[in-house]
Each structure stands twice: as C-alpha cells, then as structure tokens.
C-alpha cells in the first residue's frame, strides 16, 4: 500500500450521495474503497466508477465524460476546477469526494 511505482497509485474514494433519491446506491458508494488505477486521471476514475460501483441508473451521477451537472468534485478538499477537472492526474493517497447539490435546500 502506498509504494512508489511510476504509473500506479492507490486512491481513496469517498462518495457521499446527498439526496440522490436512490438510497441503496448511497450506502454502497459511501464505502471506502481503495482502488488501483493504472492510468490515473479523473476521467478514468469516473469510467471505473461507472463500471464497477454504479449498478443502476448511472445517469444520476455521470453524464457523458464527466459528472452530472450539479455534482461537485473535491480533490483533497479543493475544488477540482483548480486542479484541472477531468485531466487531473491522481496521486497516491489522494482523496476524491463527490457532493451532490441537487434537489436540496
């Protein structure tokens, strides 16, 4: 865990589904999952999430290449807009957090 190897890294993914309307999904994704990615950028992370974690109704989270509008992405507690959004290359021990602002208030 956490060895330095070029091109590989461990990423902690914490997804918190606020009011997605599908309770079952929220419990699954809020599990911490340490995953290995060989090409570590957010674009690939999303693809991985879509394939492996989103069992139903992926369109509630992903739209095309990116997340659905209204869902915020924080990388290490900072706005992903500051880090290059989809092009940000994930590094070891990075923390990626998704916050939904939909139907809320």
């Amino acid at each position: 865990m956490g060895e330095e190897r070029p091109g590989r890294g461990f990423v902690m993914v914490t997804g918190r589904w606020l009011r997605m309307g599908v309770e079952r999904r929220s419990s699954r994704v809020s599990d911490l999952s340490k995953l290995e990615l060989s090409h570590g950028d957010i674009r690939n992370l999303l693809k991985w999430i879509k394939q492996n974690l989103l069992k139903e109704r992926p369109e509630l989270f992903i739209q095309g290449d990116s997340v659905r509008p209204g869902i915020l992405v924080l990388i290490n507690d900072a706005d992903w807009e500051l880090m290059g959004e989809l092009d940000y290359k994930l590094q070891d021990q990075d923390n990626v957090l998704f916050i939904s602002t939909l139907h809320g208030g």
């Binding site: 509008p69 900072a78 500051l82 208030g105």
Partner: protein, 512 residues
C-alpha cells in the same frame, strides 16, 4: 443585452477557460492556497471564503432592513444544505460582539415529510432523531411538525392576517437606536447578570419543544417515546398524494402543505418572520419553473427577498444570493451538519416534474455557461411586488387565491382553456341539490365534492394544479372548509347584491 454584462467579458461568450495546471493562490489575500472557485474564476482560500460567506449574510439582511431588533424569527429548516448553512449563519451572527451582533430572536421549525417521500417509519424516526439532535444543540426553541398535521390545520391559515407586523411605525433606524438604548439601560440597571444584553435571547435548552403544532383533532395523546403520527393519518396523507396525477402537482401540493404548516407554527407561536433557505440556484430554478406553471404574475412574490402574502407573517429568503456550490463547500469546510432525506419520487422513471426538468436544464446550461444562474437571478431581482390594479371595486382588497394567497388573476374566465373541461365535468357528475326555499340561508351548496365549486376561488396556476389532483374530498379539511366559506359568502353576496346600496348610486335600487 445580457452580453454587455461584465461577467461575459473575459473569455468571450462565457465559456469555461481551459483548466490551469498548477495550484493557484487566493485572489483576495494572495497568500493562502486556493480551495474553491466561486463566480467566474475567482479562487478563494478557506479563510477568505469563510469571510466572504459570513459577510454576505449580514449584507443581505442589512441591505433589506426588514428584520427589526428583538423580532421573533422562525427559521424553516429542511435538514438540507442551504437551510443548515442558514442556521449556522444565524448562530454566527448572534454570537458576535455587541456592536455587530444580529439582533433578532430565532426559533426553529422542521417539517417531517418522510411519509410522502417514501421513508419507512423506522427511517423517519432515524431522520427525526438526527434532526432533533442538531436542533437541540443550537439551544434555540424548536418545533417539530409532521406533514400529516396539515389535516388538523384551521381554515384561518388560508386567510391573510392583519397587517400589524410587517410595517410597524418606527423606521428601522429608530428601532435599532431604541433597542440599543434599552440594552444600555438594562446593562446599567441590572448590573452583571447577563453580560451583553443576551436577555433577549432565550438560551435555555429547548423545553419549548412542541410536537403538537395544531391541536390534534384525533384526541389520542401521543404515547411517550412515539414520535410519528397515527398510521391512519399517514394513510390519509398518502392517499391525497397518490391521487395527484402528475409529479408536478405532487410537488406543488407538498410545497403548499409545508408552507401552511410553517405559517401556522409561526402564527401560533408568535413569530412575525419566517426565514427560508432558498439558495440563488434554487431561486433561479423556481423563477423559471413558476413561469412554466403559470405563475408569471407572482414571480416577485415567490422568489423575492420578502414575501408578504400572508399579511401578519412575512417570509424572507436571506440565502438567495448564495449559489448552491458555495453552500456545499461552506458546509463541507466548516462542518455544518445536514440530514438528507429523499425527495418526492415519481412512480415510473420516465415521468418527471416541471421542477426537475427545469433544474436539469438550468444546471446543464450552467455547466457550460457559468453565469447562467446569476443572470436569471439578477433578471428576477428586477421584478417588484407592486400590487396589481384593483379589480372591480376600487379601494377594496383584491380577491386572493384560496391556496397560494396571491391576488386572483383570472378575471376573464372565457379565456381559460379550462372552460370546456369544466363543462364536461359538471355534466358527468350531477351534485345532489336539496330543495331550497330560495332563502339565502338554505341555498343549496354545489357541494364541496364538485371541482367546479373550487375553481373560481383559485388563481390560474392553482387551477392547473388542482385539475391534476384527486377528488376534492381527499383534500385536507381546512382547504375544504375555507372553500365552502368563501363560496357561501360569494353566493350570499350575489343574492343580496340587488339590495345593496352602492356608494355612488344616484337612483334608488328598483326593488327596495
């Protein structure tokens, strides 16, 4: 026209700039590392963001000057991010040093809507427990209500209250000066008990917790430890919602019941203002949604800072200048607790509501053109709440919609596309009419069971919503009783119309 605004300036037609590759410094203090991007490309560090956020709340209240010192204000909390952030701002504002302190007396209310949102009783209990923990931790008096209690509301909820509270005699400035004087007096006389005039704020933990907002008509005392209303009540409520044909109608119905419950809480507990946590994003979505719903005439009332339709209790929206993104970041950075409950759902996946469609539309547009929401918001800000011209009788109060309490905008009934459907429906169900003797006392009521009786009492958009709801006898009693009352009055008035003396009549009425 909108191209001329400065937001579009830097990068052409407002598209996003290509993302930067290296970490940026805060644009304000130039030192801290940026944590969040707000507006168009302004990167703030955590500390500067916090300052910006807190300052905005005080600025909105200060700019509008409608909350007077010592006034009782009810905060309507849904557990969601915006209202939770609002609660935190109120707490922050009340705890500052004397000069800059917010000066009103807050109370909290939470409406449990779990039944219609698909929560099981166990889930509802859990949400309620979490919410109550948050409310208790604030130390403010709080009230928990269940949506089922809408069936116990009195008809007076639909009537405009006397306008005592919204425009009191002293000006805002005078009121503030008076208040400060009083505080100084109290401090000089009373000596040391409460340090800085905190006497106006009940800091005792909430023994004022009440769960029986309207008196339960069922008569069953709540068992100790049981929080949820009786199952029969819940079923009644569910039946009402299931009878609504579209998700749009359900959403409107939910909002209406929630508003009435909160209003009733405010009235019975002596609050003169209610604070709602509508964010800028929510306000922009509401603006366009309400246009689509036929509420164009009432946009200013529905989305403006202050909503005075109820007369004695005014609804204010202090969060309307915060984007949903700012609120989410603030809550995350500074640990604001929220309790998320599921939203209303359609039975089948394909059916959605105008509200959801508009939300998807605006947020999708916002992703590509980041000044969309603020432009919609700013356009909406230009709408004013000047009342429409008086209808038939100059000087008289305009008639108000039964459900939304806005001035009726349906003078020309022939223009409504609803007309043909009305006739068809009346032919289909013939209400029984007992033989009356023609006296106005025993005039037969067309029956609260017939939809036609309700329609003249509703504004255009409420008619559309009403048309999609179930049979009128599933409606809560307060709506039906108030509708009957108004219909009866209208009928009586019509019957004695010919005997009424008009002020400017020169000739005697022919049948005196």
């Amino acid at each position: 026209m909108c191209q001329a605004r400065e937001d579009y300036g830097r990068r052409g037609p407002g598209r996003r700039a290509p993302p930067p590759s290296s970490p940026r410094a805060c644009v304000k203090c130039k030192e801290g590392s940026a944590a969040v991007v707000i507006r168009l490309g302004d990167a703030f560090c955590r500390a500067c963001f916090r300052e910006y956020f807190v300052h905005k709340f005080r600025a909105v209240l200060g700019k509008n000057r409608v909350i007077f010192p010592g006034e009782k204000v009810l905060l309507a909390l849904s557990g969601g991010p915006a209202s939770s952030a609002m609660l935190r701002q109120v707490q922050e504002g009340l705890s500052r040093e004397t000069a800059k302190r917010l000066r009103f007396v807050p109370g909290l209310v939470y409406v449990d809507e779990g039944a219609v949102c698909g929560q099981s009783p166990a889930q509802r209990e859990e949400s309620l427990a979490r919410v109550e923990a948050i409310l208790q931790a604030t130390g403010f008096p709080y009230h928990l209500a269940h949506l089922e209690q809408a069936f116990d509301l009195p008809g007076s909820v639909l009537r405009r209250g006397p306008r005592g509270g919204s425009k009191p005699c002293p000006s805002y400035k005078e009121a503030v000066e008076d208040f400060i004087q009083q505080q100084r007096q109290a401090a000089a006389d009373g000596g040391g008990a409460a340090s800085d005039g905190a006497a106006s704020l009940p800091r005792r933990p909430a023994q004022l917790r009440t769960q029986d907002v309207p008196e339960p008509a069922g008569g069953e005392p709540a068992a100790p430890g049981a929080r949820l209303p009786a199952a029969a009540r819940t079923e009644e409520l569910l039946r009402l919602f299931e009878d609504a044909e579209t998700l749009t109608a359900k959403e409107e119905l939910l909002q209406m019941l929630r508003t009435h419950l909160i209003l009733h809480t405010a009235r019975t507990q002596g609050y003169t203002k209610v604070m709602m946590g509508d964010s800028c994003t929510r306000v922009a979505i509401k603006l366009l949604t309400n246009l689509a719903l036929g509420r164009g005439a009432f946009l200013a009332m529905d989305t403006g800072f202050m909503d005075t339709r109820h007369g004695d209790v005014a609804v204010v929206r202090p969060m309307r200048e915060y984007m949903a993104k700012e609120i989410a970041f603030y809550n995350h950075f500074f640990g604001v607790p929220t309790v998320i409950t599921p939203a209303l759902r359609a039975k089948r996946r394909e059916k959605t509501s105008i509200h959801r469609l508009m939300e998807d539309f605006l947020l999708g547009l916002q992703a590509e053109f980041p000044s969309t929401i603020s432009t919609v918001y700013r356009t909406g800000e230009k709408l004013s709440t000047a009342p429409a011209e008086a209808s038939s009788e100059p000087g008289a109060e305009p008639q108000r919609c039964l459900l939304c309490l806005c001035a009726l905008d349906t003078l020309a009934e022939e223009d409504l596309a609803l007309e043909p459907t009305l006739i068809a429906e009346e032919a289909a169900q013939r209400p029984q009419e007992p033989a009356g003797d023609g006296c106005c006392r025993s005039s037969p009521m067309p029956g609260a069971e017939s939809r036609a009786a309700f329609l003249p009492l509703l504004c255009y958009s409420c008619r559309l919503t009403f048309k999609e709801m179930g049979r009128p006898d599933t409606l809560p009693p307060y709506v039906r009783s108030e509708a009957q009352r108004r219909s009866r009055r209208a009928e009586m008035k019509q019957q004695i119309q010919e005997f009424l003396l008009e002020d400017d009549d020169d000739e005697d009425p022919s049948e005196s």
